[in-house]
Assembly symmetry: C2
Homo-oligomer: 250 residues x 2
């Protein structure tokens, strides 16, 4: 039996946002590896071993996947959203690069998924309808000074912004500092979208002007979208619609 | 009959990258509206009217969709990739905002899709595995000076970058200028990914060092990904793997 690894994106939560390509990979797998809540989304069946693991052990998980594949297992590594956006794909390639040469002969594929910022954007309209940045606000793996630098440059370039991992119990302060910085640098009432657990039964979406945005509006299940200076709200529509126009006037 | 508009993302090309949510919407539609090659992806059936239209008539297309929905039609507006990323969603909301008040009572939804940069990234590894920007290189609707400003700031912030609409017959010069700017500003050999028609029979992917990137490597079906300064290539693997690590050292 020839093993393989497929690093797949399960989308933000709802099964109707999982691509057929990913569903097929799961159906063919002998093993599924990933963070506990993501593995919990996979239906158990005969011949499939589920390997849920805790947060912050991404490299262990990656090495486990590669080792099993070398033994002939058909391994699906699950991420929420898209595996290439602040998820397991980079961790797997870090492990691959540092691991035994034999791993490099493995059949390894990344299967894309609907990433949280795009699912969140769709729920409110099209706030990422023009140039935008995606920034991971966690300073677990990079210095906070770099996050602040990127925020300032994104404001200067008038990009819309999507923030992943804005806030967690172990990092309650960072997002407050990020909001302070944005409120000072932008000094306007552009829309901010807080989208929690999009497409799940726990979904909560709120849209507030930047000056009213508060740190406690986000938690670790939230993706935050901050508009560009020309991002607009359409009032009178059934729902509040937030969108960034395609044009920027000279 | 109550009409509605769903602005849906068909993904980059392959049917196995279309979400079940989007397939269901198409199955329920009475009308499908969009750019000719995207409407051509929808199978004809009794009760479904296809309305293909040419490029650059996005606002006409949006008004057509809204008018039909007001008459009770169930209208799917198709985009390639994700409708909220340089596609039809923003155009539809522009038309909505400028149109008759009656349109605001319509049931309008955006259904996300796999956007080209994430499909392209998955094919080569995880080049967008850390903070990144998405920039539309077309200057049809914004001044070229703003594009150059955003490129400079993205380099200064050491973001990875994904470029949509890098080059077309009517705009042959812009991408050459963008590459010149990047080659001057970065002065290194970070990987550049040219991904054309990802997931279709015409798919072509190449990875070159920035200093070897040439304008003619892109056309209007290409998405271009430029790595950050720490984006790496794993050699010796079956395919050339390009990835951006999760960590940035202080």
């Amino acid at each position: 039996m020839t093993g393989w690894v497929k690093i797949v994106g399960l989308g933000p939560g709802s099964d109707d946002l999982v691509t057929p390509q990913v569903s097929d990979a799961v159906a063919q797998a002998s093993d599924v590896i990933g963070y506990i809540p993501y593995v919990a989304r996979i239906a158990p069946r005969a011949g499939l071993t589920l390997h849920p693991s805790d947060n912050r052990v991404e490299l262990d998980r990656a090495r486990h996947a590669l080792s099993l594949a070398l033994q002939g297992h058909k391994v699906v590594v699950v991420s929420s959203g898209d595996p290439g956006v602040f998820a397991m794909a980079s961790a797997l390639f870090e492990a691959l690069e540092d691991g035994p040469a034999s791993w490099r002969d493995l059949d390894i594929e990344v299967l894309p998924g609907i990433t949280a910022m795009l699912a969140a954007a769709a729920r409110v309209g099209a706030p990422l309808g023009h140039d935008f940045c995606a920034i991971n606000l966690s300073d677990n793996l990079k210095p906070w000074t770099l996050i602040e630098k990127r925020l300032r440059l994104a404001v200067e370039g008038d990009f819309a912004m999507a923030f992943y991992n804005p806030r967690s119990k172990s990092r309650p302060e960072g997002f407050a500092r990020a909001l302070d910085l944005l409120q000072m640098a932008c000094a306007d009432a552009r829309p901010v979208v807080f989208a929690r657990a999009v497409s799940t039964p726990d979904e909560q979406i709120s849209v507030v002007p930047l000056n009213d945005a508060r740190p406690e509006m986000a938690d670790m299940r939230t993706v935050v979208i901050v508009g560009a200076s020309n991002t607009r709200i359409i009032t009178g529509a059934r729902r509040k619609i937030v969108y960034t126009p395609r044009s920027v006037l000279p």
